[in-house]
């Protein structure tokens, strides 16, 4: 898997998550697998509309479908969510360093002001 492909995958994951109905479907699936019928019931949506959302989630790798023809339960695939988590964590040390510098800079400014007023 190249970096470019991973990048495309991540964009797809974010695009799939940028919809409140799909997030609600994922939240429901986090509690356990469900059929399309079961997923449709809490929403004022037609079965084809729900199926469409599930297809988007499936393409983004967030949801897997069972193989049985009649009853294909949807389950949550947490791997992609972990990839997003990895994205966030790489930023933590960068920001921590920045805020250390902000703190130092503020002290310098305050010291300069103090020196200025006492001279």
């Amino acid at each position: 898997m190249t970096a470019v492909l991973d990048e495309d995958r991540l964009s797809e994951t974010f695009a799939a998550l940028a919809n409140s109905t799909r997030r609600a479907i994922l939240a429901r699936l986090a509690e356990g697998g469900a059929s399309v019928n079961e997923l449709a019931s809490p929403f004022a949506l037609t079965l084809p509309a729900v199926s469409k959302h599930i297809k988007v989630l499936e393409r983004a790798g967030l949801v897997s479908r069972g193989q049985r023809a009649q009853y294909r339960p949807c389950t949550l695939d947490a791997t992609r969510l972990e990839e997003i988590s990895a994205w966030a964590e790489q930023y933590r040390p960068i920001w921590e360093d920045r805020f250390d510098r902000m703190d130092d800079y503020i002290r310098q400014l305050q010291q300069a002001t103090k020196d200025g007023t006492t001279q």
């Binding site: 974010f14 940028a18 947490a78 969510l81 997003i84 966030a88 920001w95 360093d97 703190d103 503020i106």
Partner: protein
């Protein structure tokens, strides 16, 4: 200093021994922003910041490498401005004209969203300031980034409880 992590964002909380107006200036006045923002060994030669809602920003980070100086440019837009309380802006990698470049074009590591959002919340503790910075990897054009964030937090907690 405490840190809390969520599934889709970095949240860092700090308390500074400085008045809230000074911390606000750290984020909104380019000469102050440039002084702390760059990584160690880097400088911020350009920080154009039009701190108005819808105003744009263009920041250049310059690093010294064995092959000479290397520049990285970032652009974005200010989304919310409540003086001394709350600042929200977006960030994307860009060229020096401020045209957005995809992370893959820039050879960034995998898993880097094209546009991210930075939320700074300040609380006046009477001479001291509590700051909460949230960096969200959300496509900035998507509706209701805050709601998105909350929904994912909830989902992340559920996922954690299952795995």
């Amino acid at each position: 200093m405490t840190n809390t992590g969520t599934s889709d964002s970095v949240v860092i909380e700090r308390t500074f021994d400085a008045p809230v107006a000074l911390i606000w200036d750290m984020w909104t006045r380019s000469e102050h922003f440039a002084a702390w923002y760059g990584p160690n060994g880097a400088s911020i030669p350009v920080a154009k910041m039009d701190v108005t809602v819808g105003g744009s920003r263009l920041v250049c980070m310059e690093m010294q490498t064995p092959n000479g100086p290397m520049q990285m440019w970032f652009t974005g837009e200010y989304r919310e401005i409540v003086e001394n309380q709350r600042l929200v802006y977006t960030e994307s990698m860009a060229d020096e004209e401020g045209n957005v470049l995809s992370p893959a074009q820039m050879g960034m590591p995998e898993g880097h969203p094209e546009t991210t959002e930075i939320i700074v919340e300040l609380e006046d503790l009477g001479g001291r300031t509590r700051m909460v910075m949230t960096h969200v990897g959300v496509p900035a054009g998507s509706p209701g980034a805050a709601g998105w964030n909350m929904a994912l937090d909830k989902m992340g907690a559920l996922v954690d409880s299952l795995t």
